[in-house]
Amino acid sequence: MYFDSFEAFLAMGKHAAYVWSAYGLGLLILSLNVILPMLNKRKVVAKQQARLRREHNKKRATSQ
């Protein structure tokens, strides 16, 4: 461990604002990159299911 105390760790010498904003932005960008496609998957699947249902209904309608 390089720092003597947790306060020193948070203070990062005099560079707290620079260090923490860079790491914060880094984690934000990485996690957004993972989360967005995961959310998108739900949308994609729902869209395809709606399409399948429509086709199914159409088929039933024409066969009746």
């Binding site: 390089y2 005099k14 395809q48 399948l52």
Partner: protein, 263 residues
């Protein structure tokens, strides 16, 4: 060899195999990222000149490396699209671009954040910074082409051309610090030489670089799987995947692919 090439490029095969790989790559990514962050923030000693602001390097350098290798991978996918017209490569081109753009943006911004306490300025038109900015615009160009052209394969071919033309920028970025004597310092690490920093300083960087590549792997697989479901929606296997238990969408897809694997 050609049958192998063909199998590898089949969206169905990729969808199934990537489902099996994904949890492992994701676990490794979390592991490496956590270890890298702890090493970088708490264990690496402060630089004797820059103090603690040098810790920004552990975000800046991995993102800059990944920004460039993402671009090269995108260009390779582009080459495959133009020569063999393989669908999976078209999808890869489309899926790499947004990640590449975001990671280039990260490299540029962290460069600014690091530059301010070190050089006294957020941004100068130095050769390295400017060529990275051009890289960002190249990514934007590929993304814009994907949404501007309505047919998927047409968009992919246009994007491939741009990706391949933009490839000239990669050696410019690499050698910019040697060709032009501007603000950015030359590379600290070379494959051919022993690093000039102590091991406690460069080992977190190595771990972070691996972590960034693993996160890229996770994102690429997630995006490709969505893209496959979208573009292959007329095939029987996607229909079957989507059809079964309609109530909870994401879990049902996982389940059916799991049972398929068992079968």
């Amino acid at each position: 060899m050609w049958t192998w090439f063909h199998k590898l490029s089949s969206p169905k095969w990729f969808y199934q195999i990537s489902g099996r790989w994904l949890p492992w790559i994701a676990c490794a990514a979390v592991l490496f990222l956590t270890a890298g962050l702890i090493m970088a923030l708490a264990y690496a000693p402060a630089d004797y000149q820059q103090g603690n602001s040098f810790r920004i390097m552990y975000i800046h350098v991995p993102s800059a490396i990944l920004a460039q290798s993402c671009y090269m991978m995108m260009a390779v996918a582009g080459g495959i699209v133009l020569i063999w017209r393989i669908k999976l490569a078209e999808m890869a081109l489309k899926c790499i671009a947004p990640f590449g753009a975001s990671i280039t943006f990260l490299a540029l911004v962290t460069g600014g954040i690091w530059g301010y306490p070190t050089w006294g300025t957020w941004w100068v038109w130095d050769a390295r910074g400017t060529s990275m900015l051009i890289l960002l615009f190249l990514y934007f160009g590929v993304i814009a082409l994907q949404s501007a052209i309505s047919t998927a394969s047409g968009a992919a071919r246009a994007g491939s051309l741009l990706a391949l033309v933009g490839l000239v920028n990669i050696p410019i970025i690499k050698y910019s610090v040697e060709w032009w004597n501007t603000l950015h310092q030359p590379a600290t690490f070379k494959l051919t030489e022993k690093p000039s920093m102590p091991v406690e300083m460069w080992s977190p960087l190595l771990v972070m670089v691996i972590a960034f590549y693993l996160v890229f792997g996770v994102v690429l697989i997630l995006r490709l799987r969505n893209e496959i479901l979208e573009r292959e929606h007329k095939t029987n296997w996607v229909r079957k995947l989507i059809e079964t238990p309609i109530e909870s969408s994401t879990t049902s897809v996982e389940k059916t692919s799991a049972t398929k694997r068992g079968a």
